[in-house]
């Protein structure tokens, strides 16, 4: 049977073997914890604690008035050592709260399970989700409460749980589905109470047969006919919102529409899991699961780690480097960002730490486009990368917009397919951000 998928896309090597059978291990930090104030999409937080304050697990360190924003909570108990600029995975120095861990893990008493949560008013869930600082753990870090509050005129028909994990190397979502399927399902059921007309769909690529089996048996065990598991063909970037909607609902996705416009809300597995933890167990978003892997890491692992932990500690926990890495990436190889240093805290968006050796990370020099059209075939958005690229280089922003350049989702499929090694995705990011900057400037004037 042909499994559902989307148009376009590529098939990069999966390279998931190193950690696919590794149980999630818990790691407790040794050193200080660093909490960047900008961890979610939208407005950055302002610190609400002072140097010298004692903080508890789950206590707010930073918050913002803005709707599109999520508070930053402490993952340990201890003293606020400093509020200063620290290097983050964005590659720049950002405002961070630094907490000295006292090792007691004393929890803020306000974090308890929601009273009678299966029957509680769903509005209470939303409040919880906001207070718990939950964001999309898939990597985009969009505040979940915003996603769950679509405009009232939109009818949500599908609540899609994203278990695709199409990034090579990374296994954290896969492991979570294998180890705690009941919590993911419970989270999904709680969210379905918010949208009575929606059905729950769990989309998983069929390179994770174990996960599909586990989730399916869990669904049938609980006998819920509103929830189904949909196995999908393996293709990158299936985990991207638009592609997943196309694959699951089999409706062609209009390029500029938002998921809610086509009746969908998409949540990552870990996000749903975290929602359940916040509501049913009183556990705010202070930890995440990450895959530490790559050919340069001695002992790749899946780790349940407290946010704010230094990446260096995690690499040491995995036995350090077996070989000098030439490139360390936060996230996966396709959409991840390369790091300048490993003395960087784990944040909500860190899905993995990937250390590559010289033999599997190389960049050949760029040459002229040979008009092979592979980038056209790879682009899931149906764009024409080899046409858009020179438009950016010639700075013809108008033509770039007219040719649909603003719809690029920066998935990297075109750059991956290009035999001439053209810096396609980079040029589109450049074009998009320059146009956005021009629009901002025009708005100010």
């Amino acid at each position: 049977m042909k499994l559902p998928s989307f148009w376009g896309g590529i098939h990069p090597p999966q390279k998931k073997d190193a950690t696919v059978n590794k149980k999630i291990e818990k790691y407790l930090p040794k050193g200080d914890l660093v909490f960047p104030m900008a961890q979610s999409l939208g407005a950055p937080c302002q610190p609400v604690v002072k140097k010298g304050d004692r903080v508890l697990v789950g206590q707010k360190l930073g918050d913002s008035e803005a709707f599109v924003s999520a508070p930053v909570l402490s993952s340990v108990s201890g003293t606020v050592k400093d509020i200063a600029l620290r290097l983050t995975s964005a590659g720049i120095y950002e405002n961070c709260v630094i907490v000295e861990n006292d090792g007691l893990y004393e929890k803020d008493p306000s974090w308890a399970p929601l009273d009678n949560y299966p029957e509680a008013d769903p509005k209470e869930y939303l409040k919880r989700i906001r207070e718990a600082g939950i964001v999309g753990f898939g990597g985009a870090t969009f505040p979940t409460v915003v996603k769950l509050s679509p405009p009232p005129d939109k009818v949500i028909k599908w609540l899609i749980v994203n278990g695709v994990e199409c990034e090579p190397y990374i296994n954290c979502d896969n492991r979570l589905m294998l180890e705690e399927p009941e919590k993911i399902l419970e989270g999904l059921r709680l969210m379905l109470r918010l949208f009575p007309e929606a059905e729950g769909v769990i989309g998983i690529e069929n390179n994770k047969p174990e996960a599909i089996k586990t989730m399916e048996s869990e669904v049938s065990k609980q006998g819920d006919n509103k929830i189904s598991v949909v196995p999908l063909a393996v293709k990158y970037p299936q985990g991207a919102e638009k592609m997943l909607i196309e694959a699951v609902t089999k409706q062609e996705y209009v390029m500029t529409a938002l998921p809610a416009d086509v009746g969908c809300i998409i949540l990552n597995v870990r996000t749903v899991h975290q929602i359940r933890e916040a509501i049913a167990a009183g556990e705010p978003a202070i930890s995440r699961i990450i895959t530490v892997t790559g050919e340069a890491v001695a002992e790749p692992k899946n780790i349940h780690v407290l946010l704010g932990t230094s990446m260096r500690e995690l690499i040491d926990f995995c036995g350090g480097f077996r070989e000098q890495p030439v490139k360390v990436i936060s996230g996966g190889p396709m959409m991840g960002v390369s790091l300048r240093s490993i003395d960087i805290p784990v944040v909500k968006s860190t899905s993995g730490i990937l250390a590559l050796t010289a033999s599997n990370s190389h960049l050949a020099p760029e040459s002229a486009c040979i008009r092979c059209g592979r980038c056209f075939e790879g682009c899931p958005m149906g764009l024409m990368p080899s046409v858009l690229n020179p438009l950016v280089l010639m700075r013809d922003y108008k033509a770039f917009e007219e040719t649909g350049g603003m719809n690029c989702i920066e998935c990297g499929a075109c750059s991956y397919s290009c035999p001439a090694n053209r810096h396609l995705t980079q040029s589109f990011r450049d074009g998009k951000s320059t146009i956005m900057a021009m629009r901002r400037k025009a708005a100010v004037k």
Binding site: G91, R340, H423, Q426
Partner: protein, 280 residues
């Protein structure tokens, strides 16, 4: 021979008919253009630099003729051009001060720490979208990849030792480089302003020191020493207000990191030194 006559008559006849039609159409559909537009266009420099904000010199001429353009809008032509345009339009030119581009950064390759080896597109705007916002570890300084060089229609920009250098003779103050620099590290300053802070980093002293040896550390010595209070501290960055600054150069001597650039000529320095002794 007769075979030639008919085609000649037919072609000739057709030519006459179409000619008449065209003549009729050009009368009938005549669009009134402002004759001043052509006159103005003739005296514009024709560099099509876009600094005026219109699509090239033609667009600017049209805007001037219909009254929406600013007479001093063409920086390339300077005040002489503004006078001529004003004469054509029959109005008085309010004068804009002549300006020059200035780079608020001294962090050349040997003075700053690089954060990565950059392989991507050789353009500052493209480099600004990679993690870390570009190859320099200071996220506010000049990257030296030369976007300003490529957009300058007057060849006033060059890159030396990782920094953009403005050629004061060639720069007409059109602002194209300022508009296109992703780091916003170029500014237009009045030509007569000769003392400027060459740093764009609002970070505190230790954070600047970590990446650059010539950045403003926010010590406020310059602001305290300025006799006319022309220097304001914006966070930990000193900013000189050219409207107040008298180009005395006192702050230049006080700055411990040598972050303030003095572009006065020796004569100008001598003049302000004399003034200083008199006022003492």
């Amino acid at each position: 021979m007769t075979g030639m006559i008919y085609p000649a008559i037919i072609m000739g006849g057709l030519g006459l008919i179409f000619g008449a039609l065209l003549a009729f159409a050009s009368k009938k559909f005549h669009v009134e253009t402002d004759p001043r537009q052509a006159n103005i266009r003739a005296i514009l420099p024709g560099a099509n630099c876009g600094g005026c904000g219109y699509p090239g010199c033609d667009g600017f001429a049209e805007a001037l003729a219909n009254g929406t353009g600013k007479i001093t809008g063409c920086a390339a032509g300077g005040s002489a051009l503004a006078d001529s345009i004003a004469a054509i339009l029959g109005v008085q030119a309010e004068k804009d001060e002549p300006k020059i581009a200035f780079l608020k950064c001294k962090g050349s390759n040997d003075k700053t720490v690089k954060n990565c080896v950059y392989y991507g597109e050789y353009d500052c705007r493209a480099a600004a979208v990679v993690p870390g916002k570009g190859p320099t570890s200071c996220a506010f300084g000049c990257m030296g990849l030369g976007t300003c060089v490529s957009v300058c229609a007057f060849h006033a920009m060059t890159i030396k030792n990782g920094l953009a250098v403005v050629d004061a003779e060639k720069c007409v103050g059109c602002g194209a480089c300022v508009e296109n620099c992703p780091r916003d590290v170029l500014v237009l300053v009045p030509r007569k302003s000769k003392v400027n802070v060459s740093c764009n980093s609002p970070l505190k002293g230790p954070d600047v020191k970590r990446v650059c040896s010539v950045g403003c550390i926010g010590c406020t010595l310059c602001a305290k020493s300025c006799p006319v209070q022309a220097i304001e501290m914006k966070g930990a960055l000193a900013v000189i207000d050219p409207a107040k600054c008298i180009n005395c150069g006192i702050c230049v001597t006080k700055c411990p990191t040598k972050s303030i650039t003095d572009r006065r000529t020796n004569e100008e320095k001598a003049v302000s030194a004399v003034k200083e002794t008199i006022s003492v």
